[in-house]
């Protein structure tokens, strides 16, 4: 197990390096630069800005400089938000995205697994059809439709909850965005759980368990649950990394200061360092979560040996 962990850990670095290199050069290949606006800058000022941000150096040298800074944990200054460094921006935005996304994915996991299991046990009954119809609807309604509907109903018409804003993470402000984030994931996870549970319930070990005369809840909770969770777990890895790095749509609609918006704004403004910072950060999280998934897999599935 230790060797496996170590191997996976070392194997992650080349992936990250490739990701960084690609992102760095693709970003630079996009037309326009961070200081291009409708107004044309006097050459002297352009030169000064370029010098300040090292944009006047050859691209390879800039790349080298970036890697060196990064090795010391420095993402550099933001080009767009001139009063802040990328480290500061990520440090401000990430806890917000983490809290929203983390809560949403946990909720989605529990509710989704519960619904999926119920649907699987009652396969082809009214319960099953209701749950699956609801899930289908959940998957088909995109966030940017669901969120405004929730706001219109609960904030504008009923006035129970705020229509937006973060307010330092007050509970009331988080309810609507978390709901909007959670529902599509609930839908997805419950479908995943249902099909995997149905498959497991038909397998030989479960038939044996039932033949032994175990009560149904023991069969399901003790014997079927673990193997049925495997596909959900492998979905959960990248999904968690994705959701806690912020959802652009949800952040935009609810006015939430997470890091998802930085990514889009950064790309549009050619804020090289900000985009790179978010990409690298996101990359590290994805790799980390895939790694965690692998380990959890090994714990859950006795067939996997290292």
């Amino acid at each position: 197990m230790l060797r496996f962990t170590l191997r996976r850990f070392l194997g992650a670095w080349p992936t990250l390096l490739i990701l960084m290199t690609l992102a760095f050069f693709m970003m630079r290949a996009a037309p326009g630069g961070p200081f291009d606006t409708e107004k044309t800058l006097p050459p002297e000022i352009q030169a000064n800005l370029d010098k300040k941000y090292h944009l006047d150096e050859p691209l390879l040298k800039q790349y080298g400089r970036y890697l060196l800074d990064l090795a010391q944990g420095d993402f550099g200054p933001s080009f767009q938000y001139k009063d802040y460094s990328v480290n500061e921006l990520i440090a401000q935005g990430f806890p917000v995205s983490l809290r929203l996304g983390g809560t949403a994915i946990l909720l989605a996991f529990f509710i989704g697994c519960l619904l999926g299991t119920i649907a699987a046990i009652r396969q082809n009954t009214a319960t099953d059809y209701t749950v699956m119809a609801a899930a289908m609807t959940g998957i088909s309604i995109p966030n940017f439709v669901l969120a405004p509907l929730l706001i219109l109903l609960f904030a504008v018409h009923l006035g129970w909850l705020p229509a937006g804003g973060w307010n330092d993470g007050a509970l009331l402000n988080t309810i609507l965005p978390i709901t909007a984030l959670t529902l599509p994931y609930v839908a997805y996870i419950s479908r995943l759980m249902r099909s995997s549970m149905i498959e497991v319930l038909r397998s030989n070990p479960i038939r044996t368990a039932r033949a032994k005369g175990l009560p149904e809840h023991t069969v399901i909770l003790r014997h079927a649950m673990k193997p049925a969770l495997l596909p959900v777990i492998s979905f959960l890895g990248p999904a968690t990394a994705g959701i806690i790095t912020g959802s652009v749509v949800i952040e935009q609609i609810f006015g939430i200061p997470g890091i998802g918006r930085f990514f889009v704004q950064g790309a549009l403004n050619r804020d090289y360092t900000l985009v790179m910072g978010v990409v690298v950060f996101y990359g590290i999280l994805i790799i980390a979560f895939n790694f965690i998934v692998d380990v959890v897999y090994a714990l859950l599935d006795p067939k996997i040996r290292y």
Binding site: A30, P31, G32, G33, F35, D36, T37, E38, K39, T40, L41, P42, P43, E44, I45, A47, N48, L49, K52, Q80, Y81, K82, D83, Y84, L89, Q92, G93, P148, I151, L152, A155, V156, G159, P162, A163, G164, G165, W166, E251, Q252, I253, F254, G255, I256, P257, G258, R261, F262, Q265, L268, N269, R270
Partner: protein, 534 residues
């Protein structure tokens, strides 16, 4: 030798005192104002700032030599009075003796010298300092040809500031409330460097001081008790909320979380008119939406008749009534109406009846060598946005119906679009928009100079350039005005651009927010507002 500009001053003072007297006693207990403010500000360093969101906040935090009354007139700010020399080239400002920084330090003439010099210093990297070009040597300093100290600003004593200009500039007083001219507190800039604009560090001289800045969340400014006119400030705290998406902003406004919005979603205009009557304020502003013709490439190069035909075949009234729909003004000229010392010029066919106009357009189109059997294929390029797309579709439909032209629509992401427009290698007809930086025709006229950075049509008329040079050095206001007007007539006659409509600003304002007055630059100082009981 020096002529007192008493008249101006008296007029200003009268309008100012009137505004202060109008404030009633029926105030709400909580004087907290929540303003929707577009996108997140890029910086609160007044000399590096650009864009409307940052200017809105900086106007509350800082005070220039002049400020504006609620209806947009230039009135004394940190300077209580000034004199202008006879040739209009030298301004002497008297800084208020009771002007204070938010930490209690006195605001001195030296602070303004420091601020102005910092603004034009290439090391600062200001992206807006060119606006200071009328000040002696400023242009040469920006381009690194002269030392910063050679700028035409001088502190005669603690309370007297002299500004020397290159040539008489009638809009100078208006320019002096632009953020590039704001003073900054030298001690804190030197102590904190680039971080001087953070909460807890920022020292400001305006009616408010910075209390909190949470990126993408909110910026809060709090009444500055050191401000010289603090007694007349009513709003205690202003919360600026960065909300890019106007439909999200509208929902928060409806839910009572906002008092003033930065804009409205255009497609909800009719809904707003019906359901929130009296809360929508639409005001003409200094901005022109236009299409440029690339004059360096076919089909528009050396083809005046074609350009004229295309311009005549567009029904601007339909564009504003059916597409933009929020009270925009159809544009037949380049400089928007309402500019100081200027009368609007317009295209020669503006008064022609529509049927006749189209007939004439068809004639010109044929004279240019095209016909229904041999139609022109042309491209319209615009930056990706729903509104721009609708307008491009509308125009291509008009061109097709009236002239039989085939149009290709190309949309590009903003920075890609700017790059292509600048290079002039791909573009044919392209979308453009310009918002004036100050209330003077020159902020529009200068764009079409042959060497100007935003002249993306490639308009190159020696006659036009000469007229603008003359205007830049003319100190007689009337003469200058007639020079600029004839320059615009020339530009319109050459059809280098096709003006489409003049912009308006749109805000939703809760009925309990009082003191708001529409003005052409859309500048609303929070200190002029108050919240009545509701």
């Amino acid at each position: 030798m020096l002529k007192k500009c008493c008249v101006v001053l008296i007029v200003c003072l009268i309008s100012f005192t009137q505004a202060s007297f109008a404030k009633p006693g029926n105030l709400a207990e909580k004087q907290i104002l929540r303003r929707g403010n577009g996108s997140e500000v890029q910086t609160l360093d007044p000399h590096k700032a650009e864009g409307v969101p940052a200017s809105n906040i900086l106007r509350d935090l800082y005070e220039g030599l002049t400020i504006e009354s609620p209806d947009g007139k230039v009135i004394p700010g940190a300077a209580e009075s000034w004199e202008i020399s006879d040739d209009g080239k030298m301004y002497t400002f008297h800084i208020r003796k009771n002007a204070r920084w938010s930490n209690g330090d006195p605001v001195t003439a030296e602070d303004f010298v420091y601020g102005l010099r910092r603004s034009v210093d290439p090391a600062t990297g200001s992206q807006y300092s060119q606006i200071l070009a009328p000040i002696l040597n400023a242009e040469d300093i920006i381009s690194g040809k002269k030392p910063v100290a050679s700028m035409g600003v001088e502190a005669v004593d603690d309370h007297t500031l002299k500004i020397t200009l290159k040539a008489a500039t009638p809009y100078l007083l208006g320019l002096l409330n632009h953020s590039t001219t704001y003073p900054v507190h030298r001690g804190s800039v030197e102590q904190h460097g680039e971080q001087f604009s953070r909460p807890g560090k920022l020292v400001s001289n305006g009616a408010y001081k910075l209390k909190e800045w949470k990126v993408q969340s909110q910026i809060v400014v709090q009444r500055n008790p050191m401000y010289w006119d603090n007694d007349n400030t009513i709003i205690e705290q202003v919360i600026y909320l960065p909300i890019e998406e106007s439909s999200a902003e509208l929902k928060r406004y409806r839910a009572g979380e906002l008092d003033i919005t930065g804009g409205i979603p255009t497609n909800q205009y009719s809904w707003i008119m019906k359901n929130l009557p009296g809360e929508l304020h639409v005001t003409p502003t200094l901005g022109t939406y236009y299409y440029g013709f690339n004059l360096t490439r076919p089909p528009f190069k050396d083809n005046l008749k074609l350009r004229q035909a295309l311009s005549m075949a567009v029904d601007r009234e339909i564009l504003t009534e059916k597409i933009t729909k929020a009270g925009e003004i159809p544009a037949y000229g380049w400089v928007p109406p309402g500019v100081n010392n200027y009368s609007s010029q317009s295209l020669d066919y503006a008064k022609m009846p529509k049927a006749e106009r189209i007939k004439k357009a068809q004639q010109l189109y044929q004279q240019a060598g095209y016909s229904r059997g041999n139609p022109l294929t042309v491209e319209i390029r615009y930056n990706t946005s729903e509104n721009h797309k609708k307008i491009a579709v509308g125009i291509s439909a008009m061109w097709k119906k009236n002239l039989g032209i085939r149009t290709k629509l190309i949309n590009e992401e903003w920075k890609v679009f700017l790059e292509n427009r600048k290079q002039k290698k791909l573009t044919e007809a392209f979308r453009g928009g310009w918002i004036g930086d100050y209330n003077d025709a020159f902020t529009f006229s200068e764009l079409m100079q042959s060497d100007h950075g935003i002249n993306d049509s490639g308009y190159n008329s020696p006659e036009y350039d000469k007229l603008l040079e003359q205007a830049a050095t003319e100190s007689d206001l009337d003469k200058r005005r007639s020079i600029l007007e004839s320059a615009e007539r020339l530009l319109l006659k050459d059809h280098a651009i096709m003006p489409l409509y003049f912009y308006v600003t749109k805000h939703l304002i809760k009925p309990y927010v009082k003191g708001y007055q529409p003005n052409i630059l859309d500048h609303t100082y929070s200190k002029n507002l108050w919240i009545s009981k509701h």
